[in-house]
């Protein structure tokens, strides 16, 4: 039975639950919006990293460099889309 629950996965699961609880702090405690946003950004990115590295094993195959490049490039395109649009549509009017 024990061999079915590798330490790495159990730790990853514990870590992702912990990150969820930390993210909840933005609701339970009174903090500035910027502070809350920073907490959410850090916990969400840490969650994504736990999934990619511990669960999806992104670094296990021989073409891991190409995989890292592909995923980072997609994230880059996504971030540019979000920030660029907000810049042109929302922040530009202030």
């Amino acid at each position: 039975m024990k061999e079915l629950f590798p330490k790495q996965h159990v730790m990853g699961f514990g870590f992702s639950l912990l990150l969820t609880v930390v993210a909840l702090a933005v609701i339970k405690f009174d903090m500035s919006f910027n502070m809350a946003f920073a907490v959410l950004l850090v916990t969400a990115l840490a969650q994504a990293t736990v999934q990619l590295v511990l669960f999806m094993h992104i670094g296990e195959s021989e073409d891991k460099k190409t995989l890292y490049t592909t995923i980072l490039y997609s994230v880059f395109v996504g971030v540019v889309t979000i920030i660029g649009t907000l810049f042109a549509m929302i922040w530009g009017y202030n």
């Binding site: 992702s16 639950l17 609701i27 889309t81």
Partner: protein, 199 residues
Amino acid sequence: MKIDSSLPLEYSTEENRLKIFGFWVFLGAEIVLFATLFTVYFTLQTRTGSGPNGAEIFELTPVLWETFLLLTSSFTIGLGVHAMRIGNKKAMMAFFIITLLLGLGFLGIEIDEFVTYVEEGATIQTSAFLSALMTLLGTHGLHVTFGFFWGVAILIQVASRGLNPQTANKAFIFSLYWHFLDVVWIFIFSFVYLKGLIS
């Protein structure tokens, strides 16, 4: 077909390795798809018209349950892939079944949430904010729904054909998809629900 037995079954042939690589490229495209939906949501977030805003309709308890179910299902499918690698077909199938049941639980809560919104008069046509919100949540929910049927199909194949390079490859690729949906949900949980509840 050259089988490299030093690698796990799902990586054991050239074709399998290419399929896994190709699926990662597809996930890259999915990242961009969800980024565009988040873009629309962030842009239209304040355009609530005469309808409610996020803080008025979001409820923390069901959202926490959804998060817990999806995080756990991501964990159990990871265990399923691990069981597959040590050649334990029974345990692998059990973990995949648990994963799919957790996915169904998630969908049940999400459907209930949508029904509640509509009952409160917050439909997809009420405001730009709600259109963007429901398109984002709906696209994610649709992915989970599709994933459920995909997972069932893979379970049927593993049950009838056993674990071989083909079925292991399909099961592994499905696990990547399922983990990815969890990643998307984390961003929805943080930047739609939690952020909506505090602002």
